[in-house]
Symmetry: C2
Subunit: 197 residues, 2 copies
């Protein structure tokens, strides 16, 4: 069959989410058959992104600059922070562009099964931002999964007693659904129907 460099390339490609050994093989053949149009530009762009894209120390977003363009934007309301599980969720909300405040990426959810505790999430950073920016409202936009909602309750508990409003996006989100897979209308409705917890 193929030799070492090809096997190594297919092994790496098969580690991408959504790809297995067979689709990785097809992808590699497709790349080799489109060297100039796709393969070489892809290698360059991956390298460039690996070098240039940073994690925003404030919100946890991935961007060219740190702080990211959202944290840096003068027109965005710094007193409203929307808490999300991961960067994909942040981008899903941002594609929607209904929200004009700031974001905060937790970096996951609490999970006894996977051994992820409060100290593994970016909670300390959230508490610091709340204090520094005199935040008035924290919107919990966690996924409507068991882990997401457990985490939302935990974060709400941590914020209880502080002089701010804690809200959660509405349960227009179908149970078991993830933000990154939802249409814009549902996301907008869920944002608008947020309620005090």
């Amino acid at each position: 069959m193929s030799q070492e460099p090809l096997k190594q390339l297919m092994r790496l490609v098969s580690k991408l989410p959504g790809l297995g050994p067979r689709s990785a093989r097809r992808a590699v053949i497709h790349l080799l058959q489109n060297r100039d149009a796709l393969m070489k530009p892809l290698a360059q762009e991956i390298q460039r992104a690996a070098d240039d894209i940073a994690t925003c120390q404030l919100c946890g977003n991935l961007d060219l600059t740190d702080p990211c363009h959202i944290c840096h934007h003068p027109g965005r309301d710094r007193r409203t922070i929307c808490v999300v599980e991961n960067v994909a969720d942040l981008w899903a909300l941002e594609r929607n562009s209904a929200f004009k405040g700031q974001f905060h990426v937790l970096g996951g959810t609490l999970s006894a099964l996977d051994g992820i505790g409060p100290e593994d999430l970016r909670l300390k950073e959230l508490l610091k931002r709340i204090q520094d920016d005199q935040v008035e409202e924290v919107i919990l936009a966690l996924n409507a999964t068991i882990d997401g909602q457990t985490t939302a309750h935990f974060v709400a508990d941590q914020l209880a007693g502080k002089d701010l409003k804690v809200t959660a996006i509405a349960h227009g989100v179908p149970v078991g659904g993830e933000l990154d897979y939802l249409d814009e209308g549902t996301i907008t409705t869920a944002l608008q129907s947020r309620r005090a917890v």
Copy 2:
């Protein structure tokens, strides 16, 4: 949302077979979160493969060397050529390692719809090899699709009258397959190709 280099990277990743805009976004985030373990090695391996992997001028395989290690192998029977549609099919047969002859990649199938005619396939190269290597048998291992079978008939016609045996791999019930789950075409073929036991 994200900025230009990220968008460009996602656009390129989404061009891989089996990936769309959403799965490309997830793949890019996964890469950025695994920079040293996955992203940088992947960029290097893609670049290395783009530079080092060549198309074998004899059989059309993709390999480090030209001729490829199969064409080059002294122990493989040069008088039997197995004709396949593409490199993925060659690798599928080679994984099996039941076949000890040579391969020939056509590079596609005839398709009036896609405007692919005989001159777009590696037919002239096949005829030349048959002459040069005194080939005794050509095995047509094309896919059991309409285009694949049309192409098999065309290639068989081209080889008619030459002093060699032209065979085709068998079509029928896959090993481990259950009749109840098979389509009518397969069952009809399996019945028609029945053999004495």
